[in-house]
């Protein structure tokens, strides 16, 4: 049976991880390669690197980092952040990234999803959607949730599926950073409406939240950052707990 995936997410700036990471026995906590190797060893199923470099030099350094991750890590990984063209994606895939994640650039120019899936295949095109509820309606937001749009989450998700997205990474801005659990109602609706995998993001605080997002939210994968980085929830322990709850995981 296809297993549910656990995906640690690392924020990258100028080729280094940002946000605190607190692992014992790590020579260099800022080195994404070291961290990625550690996660792969501890049972992570995939990794996501979110590039938040603002400058061209920073982005070039990220490419070099992608190359080093591909060289040393034996599980799949996705790179997101600042991707807006075929050339951007080509460069990342050439360096060994398995998938790319696009967000604002898809909202600004939805044809990009068609172009990328046609050129590189749907399997490597993840569309990330940040949304929050306004008057009870889930609205898509841009720039890390700071800019609201009029677009409805479910309509936009359906549209990008039809345009060739291979996967949706849905972050609830209402839940992100709260550690109160994932947006399971919206996730379950996405999973029902769409026929591509859905990654849950935003709100992970404890193991029960992961159990809930797979059982109630019908998510195919769950992504989190701080709970993994600070060792609050060791990946292996999480997967053992999921298995005890009859959720299929790779152990």
């Amino acid at each position: 049976m296809l297993t549910k995936r656990i995906i640690p997410c690392l924020d990258i700036k100028n080729g280094r991880t940002v946000k605190g990471v607190n692992f014992v026995d790590l020579r260099d906590a800022g080195d994404p390669v070291e961290l990625a190797k550690q996660y792969a060893e501890f049972g992570a199923d995939e990794l996501v690197f979110l590039d938040i470099s603002a400058t061209l030099e920073g982005r070039a350094t990220t490419l070099d980092m992608v190359l080093r991750v591909a060289e040393q890590v034996n599980i799949p990984f996705t790179v997101g952040g600042g991707i807006s063209s075929i050339a951007d994606v080509d460069a990342l895939l050439q360096c060994g990234a398995d998938k790319v994640s696009i967000n604002s650039s898809a909202v600004k120019r939805p044809e990009l999803v068609n172009e990328l899936s046609k050129k590189f295949g749907s399997q490597c095109v993840v569309v990330a959607i940040d949304a929050k509820q306004i008057d009870g309606q889930w609205k898509v937001h841009l720039a890390g949730g700071s800019i609201p749009t009029k677009m409805d989450l479910f309509e936009w998700a359906k549209e990008v599926e039809q345009r060739g997205a291979g996967e949706i990474l849905f972050t609830s801005m209402d839940h992100d950073g709260t550690k109160n659990g994932f947006a399971n109602k919206a996730l379950a609706k996405l999973s029902l409406d769409l026929n591509i995998p859905i990654i849950a993001s935003g709100g992970a605080g404890n193991i029960q939240h992961f159990i809930d997002t797979f059982q109630l939210g019908k998510a195919d994968a769950a992504l989190a950052a701080s709970v993994f980085h600070f060792g609050e929830i060791p990946v292996l322990k999480l997967k053992e707990a999921l298995k005890k709850n009859d959720i299929e995981v790779r152990l």
């Binding site: 040393q72 799949p76 996967e167 026929n195 995998p197």
Partner: protein
């Protein structure tokens, strides 16, 4: 050991190269017939769309060459699918090495299948030291139907062939280069065939 990755413009070749590098073997990229013929072992990769990939193979003349190869050849993902008789993706005729057809998953499952699933009923030297129900990383929307060349099976809605073998030709639907230590073991087994 002269290991060549057949380079016809398809796929995430870097990951395969790196996976072999971790095993201490340098894999050379080539589309030159003389280099391909002189190799000890060959990898036939492929990620992307079948009819486009097949068109690239035809253009480079590799379509004729590959079925005549005598060394061990390992097709990965779309590479394996192109070694079959045909695929529904883009209504494409394949190389006809494996006597089976590639179909699209029905919509009663999410398509693409993306993630880790198990391989079972293993029967090939490729799987020496690999336990039944070992996890492999898969990303695909199309699957090969069973035939007498099936050497591994996987369930996703239906039960399908996740690996095939015909004489010196091997094909795996999963990505051994991305499948952690077990995947690396399969690549090592291939090198030792």
């Amino acid at each position: 050991m002269k290991l060549v990755i057949i380079n016809y413009g398809a796929g995430n070749i870097k990951s395969i190269q790196f996976a072999f590098k971790r095993l201490g073997v340098n894999a050379v990229l080539s589309n030159k017939p003389e280099e391909i013929l002189a190799a000890d072992k060959l990898i036939f990769p492929g990620v992307g769309e079948a009819s486009t990939a097949m068109a690239m193979l035809k253009e480079s003349g590799l379509e004729q060459l590959i079925p005549t190869l005598k060394q061990p050849v390992l097709g990965i993902c779309l590479g394996m699918q192109l070694m079959c008789e045909s695929t529904e993706e883009g209504n494409t005729k394949g190389l006809g090495i494996f006597k089976t057809h590639v179909k699209r998953f029905d919509n009663d499952v999410k398509v693409p299948q993306m993630g880790w699933n198990v391989i079972k009923d293993l029967k090939s030297d490729l799987f020496v030291g690999i336990k039944e129900n070992e996890y492999m990383y898969l990303v695909h929307s199309y699957y090969a139907q069973h035939c007498k060349e099936t050497i591994a099976k996987t369930d996703y809605g239906i039960n399908y062939a996740s690996a095939l073998q015909h004489n010196n030709f091997y094909g795996v639907q999963f990505h051994p280069e991305k499948s952690s230590l077990a995947g690396a073991k399969i690549l090592k087994n291939f090198l030792e065939l």
